[in-house]
């Protein structure tokens, strides 16, 4: 109960360009989609990571290599020990209401991580779920494989063209079918770079539920480092899942 720190072992790592897929031994706690953990790489720092998948046999992360710690995560080998502190933050269940049936999930880049777990959980709960993912490159889009491995069907849009894992070319919000899916959905849950989220917001308006990122240090809500704007919410405590109205000033 409550937040825990656990030591787990790496079971698999596979890279797809700048993204790595990481499976680790069970965390010993459960989490709501959208919640995150602090992933501690011994000898380096602890970084916030969305839970990308979780089952009784293990947990998964999808990690973009951007700096020292995430680069090291890409180099992890089977059997390596890492630390996980979680679950942290507020997940999607707190913002879903009973009138929601049709859900569209839109993920971009490393933002596909919480989308995968959200898809798995909402699918299992019987929601009607559509998923569209956007990537910069076909190489990264290879991570589609992980979704398929978990039986989650996706449509993939790549900035560098069609072919291989990529079904469409362009930005994830551009294809006509995406706009239609947005129109027919009761809510649109999105995670990815801010420009993408803004584009989704322009289509979805207040149907948007955004899974955000900011600079997280403590992860539990005392240090103030993750505050989205002066006077605004703390991402680690009040998010990372936000309704559009809660963070309108970032989306507009």
């Amino acid at each position: 109960m409550g937040t825990q720190f656990v030591s787990v072992r790496v079971m698999r790592v596979k890279r797809y360009g700048g993204l790595a897929w990481l499976r680790v031994s069970p965390l010993g706690f459960t989490a709501d989609p959208g919640q995150f953990v602090m992933l501690w790489v011994p000898g380096l720092e602890a970084v916030p990571m969305s839970i990308a998948w979780m089952d009784s046999l293990g947990a998964e992360f999808i990690v973009r290599s951007v700096g020292e710690t995430t680069k090291h995560i890409h180099e992890l080998k089977r059997g390596d020990a890492i630390g996980v502190m979680g679950p942290l933050g507020r997940g999607i269940s707190s913002v879903m209401n009973v009138h929601v049936h049709k859900v569209l999930l839109v993920g971009g880049g490393s933002g596909v991580a919480p989308i995968l777990y959200t898809a798995g959980v909402l699918g299992a709960r019987g929601y009607d779920v559509n998923i569209v993912l956007g990537f910069r490159s076909r190489e990264e889009a290879g991570i589609r494989e992980v979704f398929e491995h978990h039986g989650v069907d996706v449509t993939v849009v790549c900035e560098d063209g069609v072919g291989g894992p990529c079904d469409y070319e362009g930005l994830v919000t551009e294809p006509e079918f995406v706009k239609k899916l947005v129109t027919s959905a009761d809510v649109v849950i999105s995670a990815g770079p801010l420009p993408m989220m803004k584009a989704v917001y322009r289509l979805a308006g207040d149907k948007l539920i955004a899974i955000m990122e900011s600079i997280v240090k403590c992860g539990v809500g005392f240090c103030g480092s993750c505050r989205l704007w002066p006077g605004g919410p703390l991402l680690c405590r009040d998010g990372p899942v936000f309704t559009a109205s809660e963070i309108r000033r970032l989306l507009e």
Partner: protein, 305 residues
């Protein structure tokens, strides 16, 4: 929330009720101050400020353990220049503000106190007990002479503003407290976190970025109660009790042991800010139920039993 039953005076400061935040939680910028005020604290206690800006330790800065947390924030703070913003934020809400400062020598301490008072601080809380701030914490508290000089230097510059001394576990605590009172302190704040650490057994490394940290939360509550009890029953000085306050019961325990007010730290993030209102409301109900006309009647009552 006003109720004369709850009104207290501690260390020369009058408060509408006895519940404040503990230093280090949220009150590091004006946004955090606003949240604490909204939560209903009787006074805002700032994060401990040092002369220079401190980035603090690498992450993780906090680890959950059995019934508490071990943190090693390393006194991360914006430095002396950050003081005015925080003080003004609290004053804008009409709240008393207690500026916490941490210094390695009397000169720094005096400077920090001066800036705080100029910005409008109602009191200074000098942190002599951070277990993870080389040269500005526990080590200073261990040094009888240096720590006394630091308190004196602050008293010399703050005029009639109260100076509180925040301590952790020290040998012969009551004796030490009397020395600080002699140096001009009007209250002691007991206790800071207890020096602690967590080692990962798979990699055999310390987990905290700062290696060693301080234990807070419910785990340390009985230790805080006896620290307050030992000091109050022996010296009768004004005490602000801190350590594992999660409920009104915890607050009453500290008050019965001798605290005139309490601070809430870990519970603010572990239970959420609503805990302040919950404690204040329940304290009022408790006083009513027990027939006390003011909470001061409970202060130190356990000494006599």
């Amino acid at each position: 929330m006003r109720d004369s039953r709850l009104a207290v005076e501690v260390g020369k400061l009058k408060l509408e009720h006895p519940v404040m935040n503990a230093s280090g939680i949220l009150a590091v910028d004006s946004s955090g101050v606003a949240e604490l005020v909204k939560a209903g604290v009787a006074a805002v206690v700032t994060k401990s400020f040092t002369m220079e800006e401190r980035e603090g330790n690498p992450t993780p800065v906090i680890i959950p353990v059995e019934a508490g947390y071990v943190n090693s924030v390393g006194l991360a703070n914006p430095g002396i220049n950050g003081i005015p913003e925080v003080v003004r934020a609290a004053k804008a809400y009409g709240k008393p503000v207690i500026v916490s400062i941490a210094a390695g020598n009397p000169e720094e301490a005096a400077k920090l106190a001066e800036v705080s008072v100029e910005a409008g601080a109602d009191a200074i809380e000098v942190n002599l007990s951070c277990p993870h701030a080389e040269g500005r914490g526990l080590e200073v508290g261990y040094d009888r002479k240096l720590s006394k000089m630091i308190v004196e230097s602050i008293v010399a510059v703050v005029g009639d503003r109260p100076v509180w001394v925040k301590l952790g576990l020290l040998d012969r605590l009551p004796e030490r407290v009397l020395e600080f009172v002699e140096a001009g302190a009007s209250a002691v704040v007991l206790i800071n976190t207890i020096r602690a650490m967590v080692i990962d057994v798979e990699t055999l490394r310390p987990v905290l970025g700062g290696i060693v940290g301080g234990l807070s939360g419910r785990a340390i509550h009985p230790v805080a109660v006896r620290a307050v009890y030992d000091v109050y029953c022996e010296t009768g000085v004004d005490i602000v009790g801190v350590g594992g306050v999660y409920t009104w019961r915890d607050a009453v325990e500290l008050i019965a042991a001798g605290a005139r007010a309490v601070q809430v730290g870990t519970a603010l993030f572990d239970k959420g800010l609503g805990v302040v209102h919950e404690i204040v409301t329940s304290l009022r109900e408790y006083l009513e139920r027990k027939g006390f006309s003011n909470i001061s009647e409970v202060v130190g009552i356990a000494c006599k039993r």
